[in-house]
């Protein structure tokens, strides 16, 4: 075939598809003359080329279309739906002709008389037609001249050929002026053309030469060759490492850099925006909607999302089918919609985006949804399922029946869909490329199809982690945050029904251990701290514990072979910098595997209620205690909230200053305190501990760190039992309580420190003010009072809300109220409500709630009753921060 004809065909195909899109766009924005001009220019170019190459039919058709377009531009006629139909049909006819030329090198003997007749109806006066005819003929003459010039150029320089049709685009500029120049149109036309042609052609030529057409199979081949090159590079690198030849090293390093760059560039050449496929649906939707007298608006999102070219081709047909289905079965006619209380216009959304290493394409309509009972009836009737099974099927299973081969629910078979082939083909096509089809449908509200397309070559940013000696990549898309739990924080992990939970800012999220759930070894679990990766997938949040977090990287997603597809835990594999393969974790698939199912919500609730259990009872607070043994081998405890870290020091590292033992700790000297001696346990020596190792509880008391040396650290326990203050015989003890039916003595570290006379000038008096502390638990009274005094506040204590209210009513002045929530007589909620109810200054006095009740529900309630701040108990720093915040406000 003549290369010029070939080029013309390729150009025309592209142009026709772009003006089809433009026409539907123009129909929506009839005021945007630029779109119209662009269509006009394209058609004009085509007409010129067709005439030059001797394609009479194409020329005739485009000629008439051009004339009508011109009238439209001059607003002599206005755009109607019928006219758009006609345009689109004409474009299709042009496509048909082009196709015929492609196949037979001639226009064939199809007749478009009918179409031309309909088109001619729009050209009112025949005289007008003649006139424009002559003008256009002139254009053609100039076109031919241009073509001849072009051909000359082509002979010298091939790539220039591409520029030919574009150059013609400048032509309409002069034609546009034709109608305005009433006296002598022809002259005007002749006088203007040259300069714009020259300038425009040069600019468009440069822009055209930016891109070239390349056969995809060639790209595939290049990609493979580059793969081989990479291998070769690796071998050379290895070889150069064994040889100490500087020149070889330098060269191989260069080779390394260049190869990597080449590889990435080749990868990206195959990516194309999804828009190249889904933008075509403008036309499909428009035509179908008109055909069925439905009002439908189409919204396209994320058309810039890139996908490998081959995949794009594969998903084109399935997508078209789904869009047609949505219009045909999904969206109702305007009358039905109005009857159903919906807006007259149906809405169709096509959305493309990345998720979890896949490209997701969603097709959502707000139509009638899929009637499940009809599906069931049909499935039973067709013998796909038994009647008995039908009753037992979940909604999702029922919906999935439509993917069954030979299933069609359309009550009326139309020419578009409902012929019994379709959904199964959609599904199998998508699955062939390793994708998935999900369906969601609410009867009366609409249907959403979700196509999950793997991105063979797509590049996604991912977090690289290690667990059980294996490396995994987790797509950043699923990443919410990273949490590093140190020491005592590790105990914030709670367990219920074999499921661990972590309290992330008051919200309980389930956590899973990657090494455990993947049955990996646990040799490398870090000591003393935990890496939690908080992930989200399809609306669920959960934590994932890994051994270490390595890096973030752009990874190339490679699909897993079919053999491993059943492993939904992985989204694919990637190749790391060192050449090793690493699996990519599918956040959602993983969750589905490890999730223990529906009881999770219940578990969360249970845990919440466990925190707040014995509500309304006396002393309902839960205390977390660190249990340890002293020289008398009895259990003692310190509230966990007072403890910073647990350490083990070596005997030989202990230094002495006078009678005080010290240890170098975090760049300073920390006093060591033997609790044995402090609480006067008899029979213990002056020696601190034994075996050369000192188990130590590091705690900050009154602004200074102390190491409390104990005999043995036992455990951490939660206790809801009351602390009895009455049965202790010395000041250094706070009281006794029961933990798991064992009597435990609580040590009062504050008093111990005070007695030692060591505490620095009783901390920083950074704040001033009077605070009313409302707290029923003696333990927390102590802890909070110390804290408040530490930061310089004067504290008045009330044991419950009622007493607090009495104190307030008595006229005593306070700058701040700090209150517990769970209290006898009157709880914190009620107190806050009452205080706010008093009005006057009481409506603005800061109230800080310090409580274990920090679920979102509680936080809301707190806002309602008028808490200024709502803090979780056990967090000294947060409390101090909050107080200074409200007082300075």
């Amino acid at each position: 075939m003549n290369p010029i004809v070939k080029e013309f065909l390729v150009e025309s195909n592209e142009n026709l598809s772009s003006i089809t899109e433009e026409m539907t766009k123009y129909e929506k924005n009839p005021n945007d003359k630029e779109i119209l001009n662009s269509i006009y220019r394209t058609i004009h170019t085509m007409k010129g080329s067709a005439s030059f190459l001797g394609f009479k039919k194409l020329e005739g058709l485009t000629h008439i279309v051009e004339n009508i377009l011109d009238k439209l531009r001059e607003s002599e006629i206005s755009l109607t739906g019928e006219l758009v139909d006609l345009f689109l049909t004409s474009f299709d006819a042009c496509s048909t002709i082009v196709k015929d030329i492609e196949e037979n090198e001639s226009e064939g003997d199809r007749s478009f008389d009918d179409l031309i007749k309909r088109l001619k109806n729009y050209i009112a006066e025949p005289l007008d037609l003649r006139e424009s005819d002559t003008v256009i003929d002139d254009d053609i003459v100039s076109d031919i001249n241009l073509f001849n010039e072009k051909i000359m150029e082509v002979k010298q320089q091939k790539p220039e050929l591409v520029a030919t049709p574009v150059q013609e685009k400048s032509e309409p500029v002069k034609v546009q002026e034709k109608p305005k120049s009433e006296p002598s149109p022809a002259q005007e036309v002749r006088s203007t053309p040259k300069p714009p042609v020259a300038s425009e052609s040069s600019s468009s030529r440069s822009s055209i030469s930016d891109t070239i057409r390349v056969n995809v199979s060639l790209l595939d081949k290049i990609l493979n060759v580059v793969g081989e090159l990479v291998l070769n590079r690796n071998q050379i690198l290895q070889f150069s490492k064994m040889n100490d030849e500087p020149e070889l090293n330098r060269l191989s390093h260069q080779l390394n850099v260049i190869t990597t760059e080449l590889q990435t560039d080749i990868m990206t050449t195959r990516m194309q925006p999804v828009g190249s496929v889904i933008n075509k649906f403008e036309r499909v939707v428009r035509d179908l909607a008109r055909g069925q007298k439905k009002n439908i608006t189409l919204e396209i999102q994320g058309q810039e999302t890139e996908l490998d070219k081959t995949l794009l081709e594969v998903i084109k047909d399935p997508l078209t089918h789904l869009v047609r289905n949505a219009i045909d079965h999904g969206i109702e006619s305007p009358e039905v919609r109005i009857n159903n209380g919906k807006s007259e216009t149906g809405h169709l959304v096509i959305k493309a985006y990345h998720e979890g290493g896949q490209v997701i394409i969603e097709i959502a309509d707000d139509g009638n949804g899929i009637p499940k009972d009809k599906i069931l009836a049909k499935a039973v009737q067709k013998g796909l399922i038994s009647e008995e099974d039908a009753g037992k099927m979940t909604d999702q299973k029922v919906l999935n029946l439509i993917f069954h081969p030979g299933f069609s629910t359309a009550e009326q078979v139309t020419n578009i869909s409902g012929r019994g082939v379709g959904m199964d083909v959609v599904k199998s096509n998508i699955e062939k490329i390793g994708g998935e089809v999900d369906i969601q449908s609410v009867e009366g509200r609409g249907t959403t199809f979700k196509l999950k397309i793997p991105l063979t070559l797509a590049i996604v940013p991912a977090l690289v982690v290690e667990s059980g000696n294996e490396t995994f990549a987790i797509p950043q898309k699923n990443l919410v945050e990273l949490v590093l739990l140190e020491d005592t924080d590790v105990n914030n992990i709670e367990e219920l029904h074999d499921q661990e939970f972590y309290r992330l800012r008051g919200e309980l999220i389930p956590i899973f251990r990657l090494n455990k759930s993947l049955e990996l070894c646990n040799d490398n679990e870090p000591d003393g701290f935990l890496n939690i990766i908080v992930l989200k997938a399809e609306g669920t949040q959960y934590g994932l514990i890994v051994d270490s977090i390595l890096d973030t990287q752009e990874i190339v997603v490679k699909p897993l072979s079919r053999k491993l597809k059943c492993q939904n835990v992985y989204a694919g594999a990637t190749i790391m910098g060192d050449g090793k393969v690493a699996l990519i974790l599918d956040a959602f698939g993983y969750f589905n595997m490890v999730d223990r199912g529906a009881d999770k919500d219940k578990a969360v609730e249970e845990l919440h209620s466990r925190d707040n259990s014995s509500q309304g009872l006396f002393n309902a607070d839960v205390q977390e205690l660190l249990l340890f043994e002293l020289g008398d081998e009895r259990p003692y405890a310190i509230p966990l909230c007072l403890i910073n870290r647990l350490e083990e020091f070596k005997d030989k590292d202990v230094e002495w200053s006078g009678k005080q033992s010290l240890i170098r700790y975090r760049g300073g000297a920390m006093p060591l305190v033997s609790l044995d001696k402090s609480v006067h346990i008899e029979g213990t020596s002056d020696k601190l501990g034994s075996n050369g190792v000192l188990p130590c509880i590091v705690s900050t008391i009154r602004g200074q760190s102390f190491g409390f040396v104990v005999k043995r650290i036992l455990d951490i326990a939660r206790s809801e039992n009351v602390i009895e203050e009455d049965n202790v015989d010395r000041e250094e003890l706070l009281g006794t309580t029961y933990v798991n039916d064992r009597l435990v003595t609580l040590v009062d570290v504050h008093t111990i420190v005070d007695h030692m006379g060591l505490g620095k000038s009783r901390a920083k008096h950074s704040l001033k003010g009077r605070v009313l502390l409302v707290e029923d638990s003696p333990l927390y009274q102590r802890v909070e009072m110390d804290l408040l005094e530490e930061i310089g506040l004067k504290v008045t204590l009330a044991e419950n809300g009622k007493k607090a209210l009495d104190i307030l009513k008595s006229g005593e002045q306070f700058d701040l109220i700090v209150t517990d929530v769970e209290m006898p007589e009157m709880d914190g909620w009620e107190l806050s409500r009452s205080v706010r109810g008093l009005g006057g200054k009481f409506s603005t006095i800061p109230i800080i709630a310090v409580t274990t009740r920090v679920s979102p529900k509680d936080l809301n309630k707190g806002k309602e009753v008028g808490f200024t701040e709502h803090l979780e108990k056990l967090n000294k720093q947060e409390m101090a921060d909050s107080i200074s915040r409200v007082l300075s406000a």
């Binding site: 699909p559 072979s561 053999k563 492993q567």
Partner: protein, 154 residues
């Protein structure tokens, strides 16, 4: 048309197929040589947690991820695996697989007429993955079906 010609002449002569033979345990197996992309030495493996035990893991073959299938384990062949082994790289649909075998034999020219359907005596663990056997002098060469081998539903 020329294709038909060659096919016909092929039928006329005593037909020979080229097979890539290999050993696992004491047995001889083969796949058509045209289905083999290449044979490579052991590579660094990335295990796939939770995968069936006959999946040795994933290897990186020039930037392509290859799933290694251990035929010894798949066929339930007992006895110790040798320290040395080989990967036969084959392609199925869009994925690459490596068949992990004990030892590679040469490319063999085998006469088609020695082919027989699967004998009943064969171990049923192996039988489900084969096309048939070639009766050679002194030994039985089991022809594996990649189709069946790579589409095992676990």
């Amino acid at each position: 048309m020329s294709e038909m010609d060659t096919a016909q002449t092929g039928n006329l002569s005593s037909e020979v197929v080229q097979l890539c033979g290999f050993k696992i345990g004491g047995g001889f197996y083969a796949v058509p040589v045209l289905e083999v992309q290449e044979v490579v030495k052991p590579q660094i493996l990335t295990t796939v947690p939770l995968a069936p035990d006959y999946i040795d893991g994933l290897i990186n073959l020039r930037g392509q991820v290859v799933t290694a299938i251990n035929l010894r384990k798949l066929f339930h062949i007992t006895g110790n695996a040798p320290e040395e082994f080989m990967n036969i790289i084959v392609r199925n649909e869009d994925s690459l697989y490596s068949l992990v075998v004990d030892e590679i034999m040469d490319v063999m020219d085998v006469e088609v007429k020695t082919f027989e359907d699967t004998p009943d005596a064969l171990d049923k663990e192996i039988k489900k993955y084969i096309k048939g056997v070639y009766k050679l002098e002194g030994k039985l060469l089991v022809l594996l079906s990649l189709e069946k081998l790579l589409n095992i539903e676990v």
